[in-house]
Symmetry: C2
Subunit: 689 residues, 2 copies
């Protein structure tokens, strides 16, 4: 016995708070307390049923879903967002096509909105103080859907209010290097207004970088060279094509973290401890406003100063100069400055998630999660309603089979419609915070389908290594839209591929960053996750993303005419996601291939050897133990794979299969280390920071 | 989609380090890869077999184990400690009574030892610099076992070297309050040597508190009033009774945390990142040395200054005064000071754990862990060999049944002999760090039997709430030693009891602090844990602990004559621990009672209301959500209990039972919050900080 120090029994305030949350997890009624599941028959994936589901997923119903979902703007927590909550509830509670149960859960979260009384504005002010040019306060009403009180004017969410004024400087993408370069050119940045273009780094990072150089205010625009392949004229853009109109402005959150800003690591319940908004880190430090390229052109093409480097030039049809200030022989009088008047404010709002549950027949305590966010910036036909339209169609088909008694999955399936994603993945993050332990213990995988169709050319899949094989299996069985005989897989491999040391040429899976609601699942919980969508041919366009992203032009007609006429790509994504879901929920052996981590780890190791080898050698740090670890992993994964093969050939005992599946399910969790990156909120996955 | 920021694919050095560890977990061959377990029969606890085991646990064999184990001093990492590693391996690999497999695992850890060349010494130095009194450098050789090179002289492990000299001050137990009180009395503490007595707070805390008052050196002794019920004469103490002889000195670790000091959160493998020893926190900041009460009496009874408060007086037979310095009319000349010369040094040493494994027949991936440390300060007959003697006897009986083919547990059983516990639970902590994920996912419970017998009067059990019921069930079936007809339970309830709102009068379980190797299991991993021992009647003695604790008098003869003549209490603990182990490893339904957490949480809530109610009200903080959480927990636990009862009445399906058992096993884990107390290393259990 080492000592007699006894710390036990002390109940601190922190423990009490923790307790409240933790008990909440446990107190949720358990799946096993519901009607007793049937005995442990070796229920396995039914390929005929899978075919039935594939056949019933209907393109036209997806189109009608999208029409309804994107009929009106549904910014998070607005009445229309709440109306869609009801729509989802109603669909999932439908007696003929609904799920076992559906419910909402509300969180009180901190959002940011522009003032309705005092609109944000950006103006050029002459030396005598008169306004010479005013930037648009809203997008041009080209289709009748860009007007009205529900269209939120363009703004930078979480940017602070303020009225900075100063000479204009152009800073390219606003990266650290961009600002350093300007500084090294002797360009005075302090007290200026800086104009940057979207791309290169996250939104919030531009403001953080600018503030470090004492910039007073930040403008951000979308360059037609980055989104429209250079096209910028009204007749070359929407509603005449899928291009971004000159007045289009990308809204977005400028918050640097995700989750409710006031309750990091805690669900934003009424009783949770909240930070003082004044002490929140991660908000942009200076007033910031996005503008359209129509206005950016007027500002940027009149700048004085030296010519910007070639890589900083764009598609506005003029030479981009750096400033500071406007050229004396241009349209603005000498000494004209830019004034920004920003009136954003923070508001506590109630945001809802909607959860729809199908109880598993055999293993109700194993969950396959499928989610998308519901909230949009304006109509959000592509983002996120193209995903929600697919979600509703898939849940309808499965719900109908369920209600008919034709089918019940082996494991439980949870459909989720997340709230307030656009402000920083808030609904999904609060959900992972509230049910942290239970989700970690029980979740097989998370499937995210946010934007389901960026364009109608090829599948795009992102995910952690164990999900690669199930995506491959699913896509090999589904015909690709717009081709006569190719599968989605065969079509996909033509556009995005890599040479695998194990498999040869295969489609290439992307890495999951923090672009949608999968982020808290993979980074915070260590759950194998994926994001599925149809996309464009990257060799044919340099567009950063689909052009009307986060603008008032992302409407039903935009999708119907330019993104996916006929909705066959939506159907293809529904089938892919549906097949992946059924394989995960119904297969006796979980279709997660642990061996596919070996290849990824090996490639990380090689990257480390290549990029850090010399540096590590300098400091006498050996990669030997890491090499050994990767080798051990490869060996163990191979042995496990052989063990699964052997068992699959016999008549496996359900309890033995469960033990094996637990290993497959929990593999991703072993990469979690909550103490690894304390400064990177939520990031605990040691392989994918 | 919220943004296009992609962090993925970045491989940082931290991630690489993390990876090495994590892969290690996975790479360990899985239980399920061993000979395939039999099909999922509803194998349950066999009461006849339980009786057989109870009958075969032999008091005399435990006595012989103890004789062998405590024959020589076996301080961590010394040759005799390594010899015992081989002894354990040999026993667990015995063809007739061994386990399925046994292996050692080594960690390279930072320990602290006194210098052999320059012994630590404490002296009274007269005003002219001459030494007037020297404290003993070793204990008196009363039985022939207190001499020899393997008896480590008394020292304060991890106390820094140094030779402070100053006037002596008496500071009671060295608590913050004690030092504040002295300070308020106007007693100069700076540059003094302070004498404190053991008790009240942990060892290291005394040094930390002293250093905050700029004390130069710290002495610590055991007061006969705190250990011997006041007896202090040679003929009243060992070898004439179980009392501590005047020259006895309690050694111990003064490190404030646990685990290897250089590798917090990481296993101390050769490749792990190590802190610079100069930057380690938690070491005592000033030279420190423990002394016997024989020497403490000479120092303390000659102090000048005002009389210490009544609560500070002790059993040395004189008035305790505060100092500073000695009284002029005493045995020391005016102005005499105390000099401490400390030569402790830090050393990296290889410390071994020994693991012995019985593979589970049905659920090999569920573990019941049973452990004790192996290392002692000197002979360590009580601490820890009384526990190891029991461990060896239990593993012999189970191993014999296993080798005969009579029995194989439903779940896997892992026996562990931890190294370097006395320096701060190092072997067990490194084990939990190395196998963090796997242990969290798979461990049903941890049973710790460190000191198995403090004295032979009554059971003492500490544990988290879910283990109460299994300890009760076991102890109701085992006769208490030294009584004619009482069970261990019936005897226990006479000495330690409480009134339970649910059960009425029941024996009272203690709380697990950080006193032995259960600490990393419960606090770091959130595993339901317990510590079992036989103890004395607390109403009959005020002894802090058994008197020869951590001295060279803790020998086989001490146990054989004074602690447990006949070894029937050792046998009783072996039976209790064995019965608990078998119930946990073999019962179809895990005997962990989740409902027993309700009572504990309710009592914590009441304590919070009582002690913090007014304060919280002042700050408008409501306990309402916590009340709701506790109520929800109570409700859910009741429902779960009913569900178990119902299932037990039917013919339960093994897979369904597994799902339910997972809930029981993982309940304790839901209290973990690794971000709750970042400043309290390893403490993540929000109910038991």
């Amino acid at each position: 016995m080492q000592c007699v120090k006894v710390l036990g029994g002390v109940v601190g305030a922190a423990a009490l708070l923790g307790l409240g949350i933790i008990l909440g997890h446990f107190a949720i009624p358990k799946g096993t307390d519901s009607p007793a599941p049937s005995v442990s028959v070796p229920q396995d994936l039914d390929l005929e049923l899978l075919e039935t589901v594939m056949g019933q997923l209907d393109a036209n119903r997806i189109r009608e879903n999208l029409r309804e979902l994107s009929k009106e703007p549904h910014l998070a927590t607005t009445p229309r967002d709440e109306a869609l909550v009801q729509l989802l509830l109603q669909r999932w509670q439908d007696p003929e096509s609904g799920l076992d149960s559906a419910r909402t859960s509300e969180y009180e979260v901190l959002l940011s909105f522009p003032s309705q009384e005092q609109p944000n504005h950006v103006d050029v002010v002459g030396p005598t103080g008169d306004i010479i040019h005013s930037c648009r306060r809203s997008e041009e009403n080209l289709t009748g859907e860009q007007g009205g009180p529900d269209v939120v004017p363009p703004y930078a969410a979480y940017a602070p209010p303020g009225s900075p004024q100063g000479l204009l400087v152009y800073a390219n993408q606003g990266t650290e290097e961009d600002f350093m370069w300007l500084s090294n050119q002797g360009i005075q940045l302090q007290d200026t207004i800086v104009l940057t273009r979207y791309g290169g780094i996250g939104r919030g990072a531009k403001a953080v970088n600018a503030a470090q150089h004492r910039v007073a205010g930040l403008l951000v625009y979308t360059d037609p060279g980055d989104i429209n392949d250079g096209k910028s004229l009204p007749n070359e853009t929407f509603p005449h094509s899928w291009g971004l109109p000159p007045s289009g402005v990308e809204r977005g959150s400028y918050f640097e973290y995700f989750g409710d800003p006031l309750t990091p690591y805690l669900p934003a319940n009424p009783s949770s401890f909240r930070l003082d908004p004044a002490n929140v880190s991660g908000f942009p430090p200076i007033p910031t406003q996005p503008i359209g390229f129509e206005d950016a052109k007027i500002l940027l093409c009149n700048l004085q100063g030296i010519l910007a480097p070639a890589a900083w030039q764009g598609g506005l049809g003029c030479d981009y100069r750096l400033g500071p200030g406007f050229q004396p022989d241009g349209i603005f009088p000498a000494g004209s400055q830019v004034n920004m008047s920003i009136y954003n404010r923070l508001e506590l709002r109630n945001s809802s998630n909607v959860l729809g549950i199908i109880r598993g027949a055999v293993e109700p305590d194993r969950y396959v999660l499928y989610g998308n966010h519901r909230d949009s910036w304006v109509h959000g036909a592509v983002d996120p309603s193209s995903g929600t339209a697919v979600l509703l169609e898939l849940s309808r088909v499965l719900g109908t089979l369920l209600k008919k008694g034709t089918w019940r999955p082996r494991r439980s399936v949870v459909f989720a419609s997340w709230g307030a994603e656009e402000f920083g993945l808030i609904g999904s993050t609060e959900f992972t915070e509230e049910f942290f332990s239970k989700l970690q213990e029980r979740t097989v995988a998370y499937i995210n389908v946010d934007i389901s169709v960026f364009a109608n050319v090829t599948l795009r899949a992102q995910g952690t290594p164990p999900v690669q094989s199930v995506i491959f299996s699913a896509t090999k069985q589904i015909p690709a839209p717009g081709t006569s005989s190719l599968s989605i897989y065969d079509n996909w491999i033509r556009y995005t591929n890599r040479s695998s040391p194990v498999y040869g040429l295969v489609p290439s899976l992307g890495t999951l960053g923090a672009g949608s609601d999968y982020a808290p699942f993979v980074h915070f919980l260590g759950i194998s996750s994926m994001d599925l969508a149809y996309n464009y041919d990257r060799s044919k366009t340099s567009a950063r993303i689909y052009p009307t992203y986060h603008t008032a032009f992302d409407t039903f007609d935009y999708v119907d005419k330019f993104v996916d006429p006929g909705f066959s790509s939506h159907q293809a994504v529904a089938r892919t996601a549906g097949s992946v879901l059924l394989r995960l929920s119904d297969s006796l052996f979980l279709p997660l291939n642990v061996s596919d981590y070996s290849e990824t780890l090996r490639s990380f190791l090689q990257a480390a050897q290549q990029h850090l080898g010399a540096l590590l050698k300098q400091h006498s740090i050996s990669l030997g133990p890491l090499v050994t670890a990767v080798e051990k992993f490869e060996g163990a994964a191979t042995v496990l794979g052989q063990h699964i093969s052997t068992m699959q050939k016999g008549t496996p005992d359900p309890l033995q299969v469960r033990m094996l599946n637990d290993q497959l399910m929990l593999l991703e969790r072993t990469f979690l280390n909550s103490r690894a990156f304390p400064e990177e909120r939520y990031y605990s996955h040691s392989s994918f920071l």
